[in-house]
Amino acid sequence: MNQEEKISSYQLLLLATFFTVGSSILELPSTLVTIAEQDAWIAMLLGIAISAIMVGLYLLLIRQYPGKNLHQINEAVFGRKIGGIVSFYLTAMTFFLGPPTVIYYLGRFLSIQIMVETPASSTHLLYGLLAIFAVALGIEVIARVAEILFPIFFILYLGLMLLLIPLVEFERLQPVFEHDFKTLLWASIFYVQFSCFPIIIMLTSFQGKVTQQKKAPKAFFLGNFFGGSILFITTLISVLVLGKLTALFNFPSYVLAQKINVGDFIQRIEMVITVMWFITLFFKLVLYFDSAVVGFAEILKIKNHRFLVVPLGILIIYFSLTNFPNDVYQLNQDKTTWIPHSFFLGVLYPIVVLIIGFVQGKLKEKRKGIHRPSESKGG
């Protein structure tokens, strides 16, 4: 049954969108505005451009190794032993840094803004159990959930952005290009490191499972681009409405939603953004988790990977509660530990794999070229 999991290319697009939007929809504008002030939206455009190039690179991987997931690619490229080590490193690091942080984001948001008295452990537990449930059911179910939830997410998002238009002040964008390219690039790193580099781990989840294999690369690329556009609009609106203040809030999008007041009638609708954030975070968490489960199963040569879901899930919940002594530590981790890791995962690793794969391909061709005459002789 495991082998028969199938998702459509549209579902893949939605999954990629959700992964890209992820936690960033609530927090990214704040970081961008802290660094690039009113030029944050330009940094975001730069980030989208960078991620288009990088995702293009991942598509090359897909084309070179059709139907193979990340770990099978590792084995093909590096051989069994070194490939196993590479796979283990990628999986373990991503498993340790990714999903616990996502749960921590949710717990932090809930205990700061909404349910202050509820201990974080209970929200972590509930969300973690949800993720365990989802991953145990497999990628096919997750993809269908994405198909159901996406319209809800998108309508809420669109409504929110439209209702904010009356509060827009274009003066807040000026002066344009005050900051130099270096600053903008540094700001854009904070988009790519969460939304673009780690998206490579999705290759473990969907490779070989998309019904129309040919359409998969395009869907993957468009999903990332679409997610980036959603974040771009969010950042732009944040700057247009809150201006410099965006930098002062932990969750600027939540404040944006608080500011909506249409004729004293449509107001106090900030829970809308909470619902959106629950949805996008869920997919980020589940996709990280699923790739880790598949990865560990691949490394340990376990045929039925579902057997790993519960123990790994419990570990995720445990890590989410113990990884971070406080909020500031976690925010600092995003700015220090996560950058080199995501850079390794999303830039260095695919480039090395592509180069080695390319060289191997050439060598094989050569060998074939040498062998062919002898073969024809024999034939």
């Binding site: 509930l126 203040l245 007041n261």
Partner: protein
């Protein structure tokens, strides 16, 4: 069948876990705070909390003759600690999400407000939809004591009358915390908050007899605008200066100007219907200059003049010229108040220069405080008087014609 029982169990467990009973707060356990006041008394903060008395404001029960509000005051070193300590006096837990106004005492405002506002910025229960006021020549506590007729909740009264006067008179400012912080963090580092004045005796104002008469003995009235340099109150703007300021900040929605009649005694009232202002900075010959572009649509609202023939188009053109002069004066008065009287850039000129030329601004940012006073300001006024109300000529003049 094999799956039914586990599924039912899951549903039951979820129902129990998802009721969000954990940190529930029922309405009957909450004391709703509508107004807060902060004063500085002997180097400590004094917080005044205006609570709703729910039985008194309910329409059905009609009330039992009690006061519609309860005021609780407490002193402490920080705001949060003081608010929590004040619970010893309160029957229920405070709920701040429906806060309408936050009043700052004048003494506190003169000593700086940034330390006080951090808590309101940080705490999750406060939204950004309440207005900030400064108690003119008074303590915030006294302002919150006063009972008001018509609106049973004084804070509600202050809230709605501020919105009304903001809309139709213009000499007040409905500033919320985020707007204040945007301005304090702006390049000009200046901001304005509306002042609230108490007329009469505060002790009378706090008793029920104040609202038993047609004209209350103690009243609350908005007057003037407090000017802040960074976070300290440095002075008050009068009505003309305020309206000019609001014109330049493009916050004016509607106001009335009064012109004298051309020849006779009496006055003309001109209503500003719409106005739109753009402030643009320019660097001309290495020096910053400010250009203010005002577009204003106005109507004639009232005339007492016998010599004003409203049937002639020229009359309206003349009025436009007079208005232009008047408006120019008003704007100059506001600019003078900023440049000469208080030397605080609350008009956003620094931001305009920053927008126009970030490089120049980078070099001159530090000197702006001194440079600001000398910046030439050019006004470009474009105003039109369109309508004369439901009549053209006044009956006043018809009466003159009678034998």
């Amino acid at each position: 069948m094999k799956r039914t029982i586990p599924s039912i169990l899951v549903v039951i467990v979820l129902c129990v876990m998802l009721t969000s009973c954990w940190s529930r707060r029922e309405l009957n356990e909450l004391a709703i705070v509508v107004g807060l006041g902060i004063d500085k008394v002997d180097d400590r903060y004094q917080v005044s909390i205006q609570l709703v008395n729910p039985t008194e404001i309910s329409a059905r029960l009609g009330g039992a003759g009690q006061s519609p509000i309860v005021l609780i005051t407490e002193k402490g070193e920080t705001i949060q600690e003081t608010l929590h300590r004040a619970l010893v006096e309160a029957p229920r837990r405070y709920f701040f999400s429906h806060l309408q106004i936050l009043v700052l005492g004048e003494e506190l405002a003169r000593n700086g407000i940034r330390d006080v506002l951090d808590f309101f910025w940080r705490d999750h229960e406060f939204r950004f939809d309440y207005y900030l006021l400064v108690a003119k020549n008074n303590k915030a506590e006294n302002i919150l004591k006063v009972l008001t007729p018509l609106e049973k909740l004084p804070s509600q009264k202050l809230f709605s009358s501020l919105e009304a006067s903001e809309r139709y008179w213009g000499a007040t400012g409905d500033i919320t915390l985020d707007e204040l912080v945007i301005r304090m963090l702006g390049e000009g580092k200046g901001a304005g908050l509306t002042g609230i004045e108490l007329l009469g005796d505060p002790t009378v104002g706090g008793s029920r007899e104040n609202i038993e008469v047609a004209e209350p003995k103690t009243k609350l009235k908005y007057s003037q605008i407090a000017i802040f340099k960074e976070d300290r109150l440095v002075g008050w703007l009068n009505e003309t200066e305020t309206i000019g300021t609001k014109y330049i900040l493009d916050e004016l929605k509607n106001t009335i100007y009064v012109l004298p009649c051309p020849k006779n005694k009496g006055h003309i009232a001109i209503e500003v219907i719409r106005s739109n202002t753009k402030v643009e900075g320019k660097i001309e010959n290495g020096k910053p200059t400010i250009h203010v572009y005002v577009k204003s649509e106005q109507n004639l609202g009232e005339t007492q003049c016998e010599d004003l023939d409203l049937t002639l188009p020229e009359t309206l053109f003349d009025l436009e010229k007079m208005m232009k002069k008047k408006l120019g004066q008003a704007l100059h008065i506001a600019v003078d108040a900023a440049q000469k009287k208080y030397k605080v850039d609350f008009l956003g000129f620094g931001d305009a220069i920053h927008r126009a030329d970030p490089k120049y601004w980078e070099e001159h940012r530090k000197n702006w405080e001194h440079e600001f006073a000398q910046v030439p300001v050019h006004l470009h006024l474009d105003l039109k008087i369109y309508h004369t109300g439901t009549v053209t000529d006044s009956y006043n003049r018809e009466m003159e014609k009678l034998p």
